[in-house]
Amino acid sequence: MMEKNREEWLNRPWQAVLAIPRWLQLSLIIGFVAVLPPLIGNYWTHVLAYVGIYVMLGIGLNVVVGFAGLLDLGYVAFYAIGAYSYAFLASPKFGIHVPFWAMIPACAALAALGGALLGIPVLRMRGDYLAIVTLGFGEIIRILINNLDALTNGPKGLLRIDPPTIGSFQFTTPTHFYYLILAGCLFTVFVTSRLNDSRIGRAWIAMREDQDAAALMGIDILKYKLMAFAIGASFAGVGGIIFAAKMGSIFPDDFSVMVSVNVICLIIIGGLGSIPGVILGAVVLIGIPEVLRAVAMYRMLAFGLLLVLMMIFRPMGILPSARRKLELKKED
């Protein structure tokens, strides 16, 4: 009896929060995030911007892993395609300077093309083979970037990449990029939630539940897997160009398998299929080690342990979407 009262008392503020209408919840959150930079200073703004890029990557990979159920371990390859495409066409390297804003759709398209080309042969495979092949593909891309010196400068990297400009205004400070990345995140969230709640999203869910039955109900499995793969890749491409513009210089080591592993971890641990989950994952798994250097050494160790524990005890992640929780909850 006492236990129940205590639970109710703890629940009441939470119930109040959940009762706020959806649009107001979102406005408050976005408003809060938008006013942070002047309050927290340059260093923290930079950290949050970095976390924000991973949020974009996480939401993008979520389309592939969370919606279509494909374990892509080579996501970094598309990130690299976006970054290097921009660096080729907006730096002293070849003397071309295409504007940032024009390159965004171009990088998205190039990454999507890469995703489609990889996907066509690869998406017929079984889930675990798919994972290893995509991992291998990611590594191939990194080796190529590292060794095609004439094109990519190899380990020396590409420097003095153009920042975005609007008229005479240049994006230079962490705060500028913070808002750029915030806009990118909002766009990513918008597109993926629209997709999830559509004929395409339904097809993805059906495919996850029972692929053969879905095919027999008229869903072209290969086409929809390819779509998820390409769309996910395009978000990585956009993340890549923003990364390149923000850092001003990129090196092959920025595109190691670690990036793919980080994004996979943050989706799986944060919560499959859900946006709050991805944000939680990015803040905890990327943000905290970035700030606490002492912890950073143990970061990957913790990732490994968390992946194992999550798979055994809570495969849907910490904050999964309601549907994923349904699917993955163990029948007691």
């Binding site: 597109v191 629209r194 997709l195 559509s198 004929r199 395409i200 999203g201 339904r202 097809a203 869910i205 059906a206 539940e209 029972d210 053969d212 039955a213 879905a214 095919a215 027999l216 109900m217 008229g218 869903i219 072209d220 499995i221 779509m227 769309i231 549907r323 349904l326 699917e327």
Partner: protein, 269 residues
């Protein structure tokens, strides 16, 4: 008159196992065709061959004149063939309405642009799909259950939902795989009447696999009998019931039957 479905000389082998051998079957429009035979006769295999799950080694399957063999599963569905399954295969964590909505997939067109922009064409398409879903749920008697998760529905309702989902495809041929399995006599009777309604009100043809002879003989216009992958008889129900080859397939040869007569028979011919 072109047949709706024309199966000619279809043969399907799995290594050394001859699942189907030179099977013929003809279905006209607005017809209920029964498909019976002892367990392992190849009935579900035939369904799988029609719907593109297996590719037969020999023969041809023509639907409205179009060859089905070699086509992908989703193409065959889009052409107008829908089915249910022996062991119900609903999407367990999707709601009743969502399950039926998935059936509408090939009748809708919205792509990435439509999904993201939610333009008027897409919104109208979604609204129409929802209306169709509600109509179908009413037709099968699941009105009011739209938001129930499919896995939580009682068995009889799950069977009906599967049929609703198949009807959402707007097929011209409906393949029902043992729809009355596990049902009591009242449910069986209701479903039998319902299947007849599908033919009469929606104008579909139905190919029906069944073990319950009352159902098959009760509503089929014609019955085909398979045994060990071979068609051993085809004709109107009354003829099939009296056909000695069919009786033999189910009950064994007359000499064996003498011994078996003393044991209760589970098959009612």
């Amino acid at each position: 008159m072109t047949a709706l479905l024309e199966i000619r000389s279809v043969t399907k082998r799995f290594g050394g196992l001859h699942a189907l051998t030179k099977v013929d079957l003809l279905i006209q429009e607005k017809m209920i065709a029964g498909l019976i035979g002892p367990n392992g006769a190849g009935k579900t295999t035939l369904f799988n061959a029609i719907t593109g799950v297996y590719a037969p080694e020999e023969g041809s399957i023509l639907f409205l004149g179009k060859q089905l063999i070699g086509r992908k599963r989703h193409e065959i569905t889009a052409i107008g063939v829908a089915r249910t399954f022996q062991n119900i295969r609903l999407f367990p964590n999707m709601s009743t309405a969502e399950n039926v909505l998935v059936g509408r997939h090939c009748q809708m067109r919205a792509g990435v642009w439509g999904a993201v922009s939610r333009n008027r064409k897409t919104r109208e398409e979604e609204a129409m799909a929802e209306r169709k879903v509600m109509d179908l749920l009413r037709f099968v008697g699941l009105e009011g259950q739209e938001d129930q998760l499919a896995k939580n529905l009682p068995y009889g309702d799950q069977r009906r939902l599967e049929i609703a989902r198949a009807l959402a495809v707007e097929p011209q041929l409906l393949l029902l795989d043992e729809p009355t399995a596990g049902m009591n006599p009242q449910e069986t009777l209701a479903l039998t009447r319902f299947v007849a309604r599908i033919r009469d009100e929606l104008g579909l043809s139905i190919l029906l696999i069944e073990h319950d002879m009352r159902v098959v003989m009760g509503i089929s216009d014609r019955v085909t009998v398979l045994d060990h992958g071979i068609r051993i008889a085809e004709g109107p129900p009354e003829a099939i019931q009296r056909d000695p080859r069919v009786i033999e397939a189910y009950l064994g040869r007359p000499s064996e039957r003498v011994r078996k007569r003393s044991r209760p028979s589970q098959k009612n011919l």
